[in-house]
Amino acid sequence: MENEFNSFSDFNFSNSIVGILGSTLLFSFGTVLLSLVFGVTAAYIMAFYRFPLHGFFQWALILPLAFPAYILGFTYLGFFEPIGIIQSALRESGISLMLPSIRNQTGAVIFKSLTLYPYIYLMAKLAFSTQSNHIIETAKILGCSQKKIFFTVILPLSWPWIFSGMMLVFMEAISDYGMVSLFNVDTITTFIYQKWEGEKSLLSASRISFIILFILTIIYFLQNIYKGDRKVFLNVKEGANFVQIFQSNRLIQLSHFSFVSVMFFFSFLMPIALLIFWTFKNFQLNGLAKWMLYFSESFKSFLLSITAALVITFISIILLLYERNIKSKALSNLIKFSTLGYALPGTLLGICVFAFLNYFEVSFGIILKASLLGLIIGYLIRFNAVSYENVFSAYERVPPSLDDSGYILGKNTWQIFGRIHFPLIKAGLFSSVLLVFVDVMKELPLTLIMRPSSFDTLPIKIYGYSSDGDWVSASLPALLLILVGIVPVILLTKYSSFRTKRV
């Protein structure tokens, strides 16, 4: 009897999982496709044409990266929903008009794409602007039209970069929790969370985690296929120049300007304007009292994020010092493997950490499971890659001969670190701390699973308010979070322009 029950429950589980898997893939592929259209079109316009405010749009189009997707999502829900701005205003003026709901798969894909297209935009723009001018001129001399040059030469040559951007978007989409749960889309991440939070079923959550791990492994290998092609496809040799700007008339300039303006408006300007509007409304309704509450939550978030950032950066330093001093390929591969956590969705990672901590049983485990320490371990696995990459690039500029000179002059590893490495890599350490800090500040699903009870961070508060349709209360913490999120975007803008000049 018990066996039959198990088979029945297995059957139900399998059936629901097929539907959820389908919905997850539809959401992820839809987001990739729409981001591809947005990103490549914007990159093509920005790389090959000039028009008024071109310089401004160079970095303005990256700004949506500062938005956690669930914030952009809730601003649009607050705008279009029956209780949102438009329909409330219409009702107040006596007009009864029901707008079609955006709280569905299509809405989620559109608004997720608005926050993720900059990944593809950045990669495509880098690829477009570093193509050899000679290749384009050759195609022109051989009789190709501008359209044919784009589709037969520029696009295929930029494909490895664009594909990397698409993979990033895919991983972000498949890992998304906040956006899909706000838009009532059932995906693997929401399913894991439901199984975990509702049924406290580690087994069900683990089973589905394996599926997502399998998909991510395929993506990881797919991504590596094209990495090797980049050197071959980047055909700028001695004597060649980067692309020249295409000539365009006023009408074309106007259409390009309109396209990027619309993109910027819907992906950044309008949601920001809505958040500011709700923040003022909040102030009118509640005065300063509620603001103080936000600041105490912000302070908690800040303390947690800065602690996590410092711990994670410190561990990256230790890992790199080991890698530097013990020249073992196995150790090096193991460290590289430890950075893969970045690709894992927060919900899945939370379950994994919990399953792992379960082995500690009650004595030590209970402290870990429901404590900030457990949360920081989760962050470490998730964001180790961010810190490691930054510290690693900083260390690349410190030749091993400096260490050897230090040892010969009688210093030990820590003295060498303090007196030689630190002054040389401090910029890398700073950006590591900063980027991990921002990532932790914005993190939602992992914190949701791993946090001690009654410990709320800014994203959890925003998620809570917006789930209840309380856009007004969610607006100020959301603005604060976007402000923090703009910092790495500025760093990214500098980095990408540096890359364009160098490559």
Binding site: I135, K140, I141, L142, V232, N235, K237, E238, G239
Partner: protein
Amino acid sequence: MNNIILKCESVSFGYSDKLVLKNVSLSLEKGEIGVILGASGCGKTTLLRIIGGLEKNHLGSIEIEQKVVSSKKEFVDPQKRKIGYVFQDYALFPHLTVAQNITFGLNSSQSKATVLQEMLSLFKMEEKKDFFPHQLSGGQQQRVAIARSLAVKPEILLMDEPFSNLDIKMRGELLQELGEIFKKIGTSCLIVTHEIGEAFSFADKMGVLVDGALLQWQTPKKMFFNPISKKIVEILQSGNLLGGEFAQNKFHSCLGIIDLDLTSNLPVTEEPKYCLFLPHGAIKVCAEGKYLGKLTKVQFNGKSNLCEILYAPNLHFLIIESADFAHLPNENIQFDINKKLAVLLPID
């Protein structure tokens, strides 16, 4: 019948702060190979780009096959000029195979197959047709780039430093091979390079571009033996320049008075200051030579000997002798001058 395939007349080009080309005029006949020699930054690539239609807004005019393709009033797009263009970096499409690269500019599939076969056999690339550019050597990449340009049957092929990325051995082989191919299919070609050897071995006509000005446009032999400027001699390193004074068909110098019969060809300058150009071959070491000097350097380069003779304080001559030249440095030697080869040049 007029056979001129390319004609540039008084072409000037510049940016706001710099004149890159100054009144360049040249012409090339059907089937001829022209070479423009110049140091980097002298404007030779710009000239090629203007002829190819890749740069606009120049003064003067350009005709291809007796049709104006570029002037103050006319501008024909690059793809309509019936030209081929080979860039210094070859600009092969890295995502396409050799065969796809060669047929890129062709439209009908029938002509694609025929021309591909023709080009592959002409450039001996049959076995590499399915290779990608990164799987080829530099010489093979160069062949594909030229084959791709020739596949569309251009009236003239423009080549920018085509051999600069190749090693000396490959360069020599390719030069010979391409010379034969161009003559075989009768393609006209204009090449810009900074390699003197390439210019002499390849050109039917050549010119030296200095600071945007084309100093002379002539056959290589005339360029070598009858330069019109001291600068050309210095760039081509084609012989020795002797200082002195010229009067009444006589050149007075440290070597004494040299009788010259050059009045008819004498370049006229406002201040008649001249030097005497003695090309390699004009000074010969011989047992009963009129002049006595001291051999200060003998440098064997594998094919010949480059020798330096000190004749008087601060007067050295560089001469080229055969590989079996037996004299050693510090020997006193006698030499003679073949006055018939001497050319009187104005001092710039």
